[in-house]
């Protein structure tokens, strides 16, 4: 994992998948460009997804993730580049010829139809043999656990139920690809979490390739085989969740996924696989490849910080405890540098108790947990 090549950042299409197989790009988005009123929303974007993969597009609103999704679905036109699915070129096909299913953020069940007719809609539109419709609908309704509501009006269902209908409706036509546009964002947290797991299992069982748009990092981490972190119309990093979290390729990914403490500095020494960075808070070692003199950030995830003096192969700091906030199982410590700048970390409450306000607090973390990222 530590060997992730920084040169390939933002060109995630060629990153290995966690399953270990190099996908023959079941879905290939190649050099796709889209602009609105002269402003590029997507520029020269590539994305390759393997068959059966569950890929999340993660990014803040306005990063172009929904645009990319609608473009793949054929709901908006493409300005340049191409989209292929299973070797078939989709670029010029209208949405209804693409066999790409979509589950929308606002569910969008057909309000004038019953649950049954909603799920049967695509089958009927595609002129499926009439005797196959009922069994298919019933099968997918039972997969989303809605069999008991088959005759209900779709409009009369709760949000979660409506979204299940939307999922069943999209799956019933056996799409070659399923696109999900923040499908759970309007649900409350508990329901969202259970539906995330249900959906993930269902798709895996059916072997459906899916692209899932979200701005919620937890959701992306929970569900995805791989995550493409998007920013300003580009993919910053495309990798499995663990890599995204532990080895963010850019400061944007570092900030967007999880929290961290970071210090800007310059590389003062570089050898094979490790650099030494000089910062205002001291010198830190980090596993990375940079040339001497490069401007970098040094960062560390808070969970990797221990309340102890640094040992061998550790980096460390000593700060003054300003405030201690008790939260039950954990406590938040407000620490200050000598110049007054604050830094807060949370630790198990038990470890925080012996510390005296105003007293020194030693911090340490492993060199292997230290991140060094290029300043952009």
């Amino acid at each position: 994992m530590t060997s992730l090549s920084l040169v390939e950042n933002g060109r995630g299409a060629r990153a290995p998948s966690p399953a270990g197989h190099m996908p023959d790009a079941y879905l290939a988005v190649e050099r796709v460009t889209k602009s609105y009123r002269g402003v590029d929303v997507l520029s020269n974007l590539d994305l390759a997804v393997g068959q059966g993969e569950f890929v999340s597009l993660l990014g803040p609103s306005g990063c172009g993730k929904t645009t990319l999704l609608r473009l793949i679905a054929g709901l908006i036109g493409i300005d340049g580049g191409q989209v292929l699915l299973g070797g078939r070129e989709l670029t010029r096909l209208p949405a209804h010829r693409r066999n790409v299913g979509v589950v929308f953020q606002n569910y969008a069940p057909f309000p004038h139809l019953s649950v049954f007719d909603n799920v049967a809609f695509g089958l009927r539109a595609q002129r499926a043999a009439s005797e196959t419709i009922r069994p298919t609908v019933e099968r997918f309704l039972s997969l989303v656990q809605l069999s008991h509501l088959v005759d209900r009006s779709a409009k009369a269902l709760s949000g979660g139920q409506q979204q299940r209908v939307a999922v069943a409706r999209a799956l019933a036509v056996k799409p070659g690809l399923l696109l999900l546009d923040e499908p759970f964002s309007a649900l409350d947290r508990k329901l969202r979490e259970s539906m995330q797991i249900d959906l993930r299992m269902l798709l895996r069982e059916l072997g459906i390739t899916a692209i899932f748009v979200t701005h919620d990092q937890d959701e992306a981490l929970v569900m995805s085989d791989r995550i493409a972190v998007m920013n300003a119309g580009r993919i910053e990093q495309f990798a499995d969740p663990a890599t995204i979290y532990r080895r963010p390729a850019t400061p944007f990914v570092l900030d967007f996924v999880g929290s961290s403490t970071r210090f800007p500095g310059k590389v003062v020494d570089a050898k094979e696989g490790e650099v030494v960075v000089e910062t205002a808070r001291g010198r830190f070692r980090a596993p990375a490849n940079f040339i001497t003199g490069a401007s970098v950030f040094v960062a560390v995830r808070p969970e990797n910080i221990r309340l102890a003096p640094p040992g061998e192969d550790d980096s460390g700091l000593e700060l003054t405890l300003v405030e201690r906030i008790f939260l039950g199982p954990r406590s938040v410590l407000q620490l200050a540098f000598t110049d007054g700048e604050r830094l807060s970390i949370d630790v198990p409450a038990r470890l925080a108790e012996p510390l005296a306000i105003g007293g020194p607090v030693p911090l340490a973390w492993a060199v292997s947990d230290t991140l060094a990222l290029p300043v952009q």
Partner: protein
Amino acid sequence: MSKATLDPHTAAVARPGHRGFKIDPTAALALPAVLYLVAAYAIPLAILLFAAFRTPEGLSLANFAGFFADAYNWQVTYNTLWSAGMSTLACLVIGYPTAVALARSRGVVQMALLVSLILPLSVGVVVKAFAWTIMLRTNGILNQALLGIGLIDAPLRLLFTPTGLVIGAVNVFLPFMILPIYSVLRLVDARLPEAAATLGAGPVYRFFHVLLPLTLPGIIAGVAFVFSLTVSMYVVPNLLMGEQFMTLPRLVARSYLYFRNEALGSTIAVILLVIAVAVVMGSQYLIRLTRHET
């Protein structure tokens, strides 16, 4: 339309019942309107109904029996319903796509479309109808246009024909079809046709299975609007048709103003009223039906 007038009414009636006839003081705000309607509408209506059912032998249906015993009156009734029906149909066929375009347009374009739709309402019906007597001539602009694009070989006779009447009526009443459909279309979630497309439904299937059923309340309202207006139109047929195409409203006017036959005039007026009420109630029923189904 009538939904808005019916619902608050029933709500206002239901409430005091629950509170033991304690009337909401804000109901007094409706008093001027109520007084106005009683004076300007309810009382004349009562007089009209009385006149229609009054015969020398007392109140009876004799006036109606007499009216329908005459085959000519059946012809007039048919003319009235035919011209209203055709005008309504033409308004629907022309108005629906227009409403879709209006709902999809944005910003300045939408503003321009709306203005071009509403501004002509400020032009009097008489002016419009008179303008059509010019446009519909054998050498009028409509015939020249049709000849020009090669749709016809010889000029059509349109003026003083039922076709000409429908053309003129559509011009006058089209906004009353477009606006209710547009207002419903605006509320239709744009994701629904998209969802249908991603399920493999082509444009025609999407239209008939998604857009059309979802906009049915607007269509029903528009049809009810235009039909009630065209079934009672007076000025347009008066100018675009001569005596050759008699309709019920013109017969009402003639009965009152010329024959001074109050019984006949009020009888026909009541028949028109029944048609209009049937259309409004029928449309209400249909709208409720579509709502229950969904």
